[in-house]
Subunit: 394 residues, 2 copies
């Protein structure tokens, strides 16, 4: 018989996907260029040319049997070495190939990280606003995701509520900085305080609490800054990375788990990921894609487009009187809606062909997300429409 | 704390991997060309040139944002359409895109198929000799894999034992034809009888019993024949395919689940796979790889090499007096060892730099597997060594 768990999930429709479908249907009607679709986090800047050239060269010069042959379960060794060397150079943490497990994007990395450190019934804490897919990702492992309410002033961590919720049942804490949907980058102070609280709790409960750091937006940080590295603040950190956003490669499903060498059980964790992958049917990202990113670990797409879009939207939204935390990175902004019901607000926006995602599923009702990974020209055309739309709420 | 299930699995060492490691170490000593390594099922013939040219053309001509952009969860629609059309044309079964879920190789396809139709505690039956990875694949879903003993005469199905084991607890039956490790192709009679028994059992138990057909070797069939298609014999069939062997693409992790349109719940199964994939962290095979296979669905590597190797080895082994079922396809042969302990036999073979895998983990103690996906020149050089080695058991 078909399994009820998955069958039941079919009726729950993703808000983001419904909005994207609206945008697509409306686009067919009036021309897609006339729909201001801020719904989907799909990178809009090209893949760096060096990445494409690497792929073509590999295909033209390598023996096809080696190039497309089986990757060892934790990933191709030279690729893991390259990733470790790059992280070591950048963060001064002594990663070795043994600490790197190549995964199918951040989703694949997280699927392995959760199974490494939690059993069914264990709790994982994360901080609102958060990526809604965390729920199925965690729920389907049997662990329980609990979400700490937002600190609305700046979307850093609400430490008071966090400390209350950090019970003996919590085996892992999941963070996502730079953050989807807020665009906020956790400060050094935030990470230091988080680490302090976790260390205290580890002592209190006499078991490790792992910090799972989901970092797909790590390279998309604005104003000439870079994102502080969670692994530098807390030993028991499992970094989950994806190349989806940094080189506009989301379809190629490539990322990694990087286990902090100082992690409790560090030497076991990559071999354990290999065992986990036998159950998930994972068996490595594609070989060609692994070899390609290994040669382009410093490559980043032209993210200045996202920064320009951030500036345009932040200025427009604040001038319109909205409460907005200024994003430090990503391609998201997460303003407070001018009416309490963000779902209703989002519906009204559709009448102006503005596709905005209500914040409820991100754990922040009353807010809405705009994904500004679209052409700047389109952002500019959307501004007068946005201004007109927002004016009615004065 | 690190999860004990996966930690415990670390101590169980794969026999095949240990032998491959021996071959590799010994190769470093005496030159790899002098080690007759029959351990690993890694394709040895090149990828069809058309496949490589497709990839280069896609990279040179497509907008990188589209080419490497997010794939929809069940796979790229045009790819699913192409797969469905190809299967429909070939087998006369009315597959549509809705019945196809693109997966990361057969391992990924099976991970989804098992979760579709079994809950923890349910039984899955398979037939020895079988691919040893089926155990972790199934065990880690919580279902229970039980194995029907071999029919040694021809490695078709032992129907007597099968009928005894086909209880009310069995929710799925897993077959693998052409078979790893025996190389045997299930005959039309075998599939028809299997279907008859399954239909009877469905009626008896008043619940569907799904046939999961793992077909990575479908295209590697010898003597001008082709493999009978399980889905044609039994409606409730879930086909799991991989391009790993047919186009020598194992590292690129690409395959699919094809749900028979006549399957009970057919219309729900691909959407359910999408839900399952949120838990496994799967999220599609790589976009570039999906688009590439869609243009090369009829392409097959030069498998005549495997047929030549099969002929050489079958003749040599039978002439040496061994009991051998003649493989109809794959790149495996599975003879009976001339002494009862195939592990001991395999150890003795290593003294001649012959790497043979004992059949115990395949569910057929006393037999051994040779993977002849190696150069014919090497097979030829191995024959006198093999003859000398086998002569001592007369």
């Amino acid at each position: 018989m078909l399994v009820q768990t998955y069958r039941d999930m079919l009726s729950a429709k993703s808000v983001i996907r419904s909005l994207a479908e609206f945008a697509s249907a409306r686009g067919a009607q009036i021309g897609y260029e006339n729909v201001f679709d801020y719904s989907l986090g799909n990178p809009s800047v090209p893949v760096p040319d060096a990445v494409t050239q690497t792929m073509i060269r590999l295909l033209q010069t390598k023996d096809s049997r080696t190039l497309h042959g089986y990757s060892p379960n934790p990933g191709i060794y030279s690729v893991r070495e390259a990733v470790a060397a790059s992280l070591k150079k950048r963060y001064g943490i002594p990663y070795r190939a043994d600490h790197i497990f190549m995964a199918s994007g951040a989703a694949g990395a997280l699927a392995h990280a959760f199974r490494l450190v939690t059993q069914p019934g264990d709790e994982i804490l994360t901080f609102a606003p958060f990526f809604p897919e965390y729920h199925p990702y965690v729920d389907l492992t049997g662990a329980v995701l609990k979400t700490v309410p937002p600190r609305f002033a700046d979307f850093q961590i609400n430490f008071e509520r966090f400390e209350e919720m950090l019970t003996d049942r919590v085996m892992a804490v999941l963070i996502n900085s730079p953050n989807n949907p807020s665009g906020v980058v956790y400060s050094e102070e935030t990470l230091a305080e988080l680490a302090r609280i976790l260390r205290e709790a580890q002592n209190r409960y006499s078991h490790p609490i792992y910090l799972i750091s989901d970092e797909p937006y790590r390279e998309i940080v604005f104003d000439g800054k870079s994102a502080p590295c969670a692994s530098k603040y807390y030993d028991n950190t499992i970094m989950c990375y994806s190349f989806s956003k940094s080189i506009s490669f989301p379809g190629e499903r490539i990322g990694y788990v990087a286990v902090n060498p100082a992690c409790e059980g560090a030497e076991l964790m990559v071999p354990m990921c290999v065992q986990i992958s036998r159950g998930t049917g994972h068996n490595c990202p594609a070989s060609l894609i692994q070899l390609t990113v290994a040669e382009n670990l410093e490559a980043v797409s032209d993210i200045s487009v996202y920064e320009t879009n951030r500036n345009l939207l932040y200025d427009c939204l604040t001038e319109a009187g909205l409460t907005v935390v200024r994003p430090g990175g990503t391609f998201y902004i997460f303003p407070k809606a001018p009416i309490p019901d963000a779902g209703e607000f989002s519906k009204l926006a559709l009448e102006h062909d503005l596709v905005l995602v209500p914040g409820d599923t991100f754990g922040a009702p009353g807010y809405f997300r705009m994904a500004y990974c679209i052409d700047t020209e389109k952002v500019e055309r959307s501004l007068p429409v946005l201004r007109r739309f927002l004016a009615q709420f004065h």
